[in-house]
């Protein structure tokens, strides 16, 4: 099958052979530690290693073979290219892989789709609602609760299925369950009774962005915590927003109907989460502007920018909606916000969001290999 190797996969294979002969970077991160367990590098191995990589940059600046050296080794950039190719190859349905190559088009199409679904629904029900006395800030008069639940329920089921199938494809290729060590490796395994627990902590703390005890570089000899903290803002901001929706759904089931007070759990969770989801993506977008272009493949960079923009649009429209929910243009804002949230959901399996799924899976495999 070597004829079918893509350019970036071929380059990654070559780079890992050079890296494995050098090994100077072995104390930086799991990519090199996992690499040392292997002698040859098939596309499956490269896919696993690429998804372990957190794209920090330490190994590029430390590399005696980095460009302009004729060996032209740039591991962070090459592996980021392999990552995007792996996202494409795992996409379900397969034709949707095109979204990874055209992230901005995918974003616009998704928002337009969201609007085409939400706007007519809103128009229908608002017209009906006009005959009643409209209670202020009542979103369900614009789009009824059951319609909203059905709409997002169907989309979520699809999204979960698409992500699960992608994960399954990755698991099959990368042999996630079966740890693999070459016969000549003499390093003693470390005791880890619960790889799953360790990997979860690795994910939740972004351990490998500061595993050496210091933050990783974001430019040569510049070690700052911002990338890690802004990612935390984004991740936990999203988690809080998700928690807010979940609590609201439970309230609703028990008959406590929205709108909720500004001091209620759903609103507080949503507001704090929403602020995190403004600060995180906005900060990461700003960091991107001064990030060394040598560190990331253009394809992955575009995916990241599109996803961050989508998250930022979600949080900004959500907070606006909260602030202006008693104004007459609330219905328009609601439709806008729901269209964007719907678009965000639809694009989850076809954008940067999947990095979390595959990175988490790769980190778990790494912990398992380490504990063999």
């Amino acid at each position: 099958m070597p004829d079918m190797l893509t350019e970036v996969m071929r380059k990654a294979g070559h780079e890992m052979v050079v890296c494995n002969a050098c090994r100077y970077c072995e104390a930086y991160c799991p990519v090199f530690q996992a690499m040392e367990q292997r002698v040859t590098f098939q596309p499956a191995d490269l896919t696993y290693l690429a998804n372990l990589c957190h794209n920090c940059g330490e190994c590029l600046y430390a590399c005696q073979y980095a460009p302009p050296h004729e060996f032209n080794i740039d591991v962070p950039r090459t592996l980021s290219g392999v990552r995007v190719e792996s996202y494409e190859s795992f996409a379900w349905p397969s034709f949707a892989a095109v979204a990874f190559r055209r992230p901005w088009v995918a974003t616009l199409v998704a928002i337009a789709t969201g609007a085409l679904i939400c706007a007519p629904i809103a128009r229908t029900f608002s017209r009906a609602a006009r005959t009643f006395q409209v209670r202020e800030a009542d979103f369900y008069r614009v789009i009824p609760h059951d319609v909203m639940v059905m709409l997002f329920g169907v989309v979520s089921l699809f999204v979960v299925a698409a992500i699960a199938i992608g994960h399954r494809r990755f698991a099959t290729i990368a042999d996630l369950k079966g740890p693999r060590r070459s016969k000549d490796v003499t390093s003693p395994p470390r005791q880890d009774t619960s790889p799953r627990r360790s990997a979860t902590i690795d994910v939740l703390t972004l351990k490998h962005l500061h595993a050496t005890g210091e933050d990783c570089v974001d430019a040569e000899e510049q070690r700052r915590p911002w990338r890690r903290w802004l990612h935390h803002c984004t991740f936990y901001g999203f988690a809080l927003c998700f928690a807010s929706t979940t609590v609201a759904a439970i309230y609703h089931a028990f008959g406590w109907i929205a709108p909720y007070a500004y001091t209620s759990a759903p609103v507080v969770l949503g507001t704090v989460g929403g602020l995190g989801l403004v600060i995180g993506p906005a900060g990461l977008l700003m960091l991107d502007r001064r990030r060394d272009p040598a560190l990331t493949h253009a394809s992955e960079r575009a995916l990241g920018l599109a996803f961050l923009t989508m998250l930022l649009l979600t949080s900004v429209t959500g907070l606006l909606l909260l602030a202006l929910r008693e104004r007459p243009y609330m219905p328009t804002l609601l439709v806008l916000h729901l269209s964007i949230v719907l678009a965000l959901f639809i694009t989850f399996p076809y954008g940067k969001f999947v990095h979390g799924i595959y990175r988490g899976a790769a980190l778990l495999k790494f912990r398992r290999e380490e504990s063999v």
Binding site: N20, P68, E221
Partner: protein, 466 residues
């Protein structure tokens, strides 16, 4: 001539930056003249990985202990006693505290616990290797206000009566004269000067590969010897290992090494074996194979293994030359197929029965051959056969300038007034021959610090007299 520096450092590797940082920390106004462009700064230090440190107890970066006596014994063993005992003891004692002292400049070390490093007891490993070390050092130098000039080729030294006055420096912007109260020579050896190598080894030198920087052409060393510096170290010797012949002419670094030799046989271009491939563990023997290959016709040899060995050594970054039969392999390598087949037939017939174990000095050997293979000898009988071409890879040269315990250069007429040296350019004082892993970086750091301290003090005395 508007600016006069306290200390001019000629060179841009670890020794140079150690001197520059130490001097700048003591308040000296320092300029570093690095011949390489920024991307290739750091001399051979950018290819290094660790330094050797004595220590009485385990530390965060070193396991167990490595006492002073043992370090000295290792040094005496590899140099055969060709070392200046005073300087060597000074260096060994100063090495104990190096990781801690270097860390104040942001240099980071690998934790000692991890992995397969058999050198973890004697050597402290730079996190990310030598280029990462140099990145930290340069960043620290910039913070301390050291002026760093890249692409700066020192082409002349103005020295009068053992006193340095200025250096003539060529840069892409023209030629400039840099005046300084003191100078630190840290510009390495001459291993990448192909003409100089040819003066010693003749035409053979054309087939040598230089493992490190192309910028160590020995210009500063030559200028100093011409100015009357006392030489030290054998001028005709260099450290050479056998590396893959397809390595780039310069700067191939660590990855061009080849570990297959003890698992098979090595033949020259005529198809003849010429040395015991199984004499000892490869890490203990690979440094003699550079000279062995250099002594063969056209300075080329071929390591040949059969299918049994594949997977038992780290694959080269270059693909093996593969053949289904010995005859086919001979023609692929351009060796007379008949001779190669005869060599391997004789070898196979001489292999005695034994239990193969490439992790110990096993009992698999040949009998009745010249030369015999004394360990790991197995018949070459299982295709496919793999071959790797070998050439001598030059690491460094031994010739340097003599220094005293203050890193002050010894001139023919006595001590130089304000000229100090550190690193490869004076390593011959301690390392008259041979090599032990990481000692070059220890010499560079320790004498870099001494040169930085002494030069800034000397510059300070001049200022107070003025």
């Amino acid at each position: 001539m508007s600016v006069r520096y306290d200390v001019a450092v000629l060179g841009g590797g670890n020794a140079a930056l150690s001197a520059a940082l130490t001097a700048a920390e003591r308040g000296a106004h320092v300029i570093v003249l690095e011949r390489a462009p920024r991307a290739f700064r750091g001399g051979n230090s950018r290819h290094t990985r660790n330094l050797r440190c004595m220590h009485a107890a385990p530390t965060d970066v070193l396991t167990d202990s490595y006492p002073e006596d043992e370090f000295m014994a290792d040094l005496l063993r590899v140099t055969g006693g060709l070392t200046d005992h005073t300087l060597a003891s000074m260096m060994i004692r100063a090495s104990a505290d190096l990781p801690r002292r270097m860390s104040r400049f942001g240099v980071r070390f690998q934790p000692s616990l991890r992995g397969t490093l058999h050198l973890g007891r004697t050597n402290a490993f730079f996190l990310g290797g030598g280029k990462a070390l140099m990145n930290s050092a340069y960043a620290a130098a910039e913070r301390l206000g050291v002026r760093i000039v890249y692409d700066a080729d020192v082409v002349g030294l103005c020295i009068r009566d053992g006193r340095f006055e200025s250096a003539e420096v060529q840069t892409p912007h023209g030629t400039e004269s840099i005046a300084a109260r003191t100078v630190v020579l840290a510009a390495g050896g001459f291993e990448s000067n192909l003409d100089w190598l040819a003066e010693i080894w003749g035409e053979a030198a054309g087939n040598f590969i230089i493992r490190g920087t192309p910028y160590n052409t020995g210009t500063v060393l030559r200028l100093m010897l011409d100015a009357g510096a006392e030489p030290v170290g054998d001028p005709s010797q260099c450290h050479a290992v056998a590396i893959d012949a397809r390595a780039p002419k310069f700067d191939g670094g660590i990855v061009t090494r080849l570990d297959s030799v003890p698992l098979g046989i090595v033949v020259n271009k005529h198809g003849d074996r010429f040395y015991d491939e199984g004499e000892d563990y490869w890490p203990k023997r690979y440094a003699i194979w550079g000279r062995l290959v250099a002594q063969q016709p056209d300075q080329i040899a071929y390591s040949i293994v059969d299918a049994k060995a594949i997977g038992r050594f780290m694959p080269s970054v270059f693909p093996p030359i593969v053949a289904g039969s010995i005859r086919e392999l001979g023609s692929a390598l351009g060796i007379s197929a008949g001779t190669l087949a005869a060599t391997i037939e004789r070898f196979n017939a001489a292999v005695r029965p034994g239990t193969f174990d490439h992790h110990t000095l096993d009992d698999c050997r040949t009998e009745g051959l010249v030369p015999n293979k004394t360990h790991w000898a197995q018949r070459l009988d299982t295709p496919p056969f793999h071959a790797y071409p070998l050439r001598p890879g030059i690491t460094f040269t031994y010739l340097g300038v003599k220094v005293d315990e203050h890193a002050r250069v010894v001139m023919k007429g006595g001590l130089a007034d304000n000229i100090f040296a550190a690193g490869e350019i004076m390593a011959g004082n301690i390392l008259g021959r041979g090599y032990v892993a990481g000692v070059g970086m220890t010499i560079g750091t320790v004498f870099g610090e001494i040169a930085g301290r002494e030069s800034s003090d000397a510059a300070g005395r001049q200022t107070s007299h003025a």
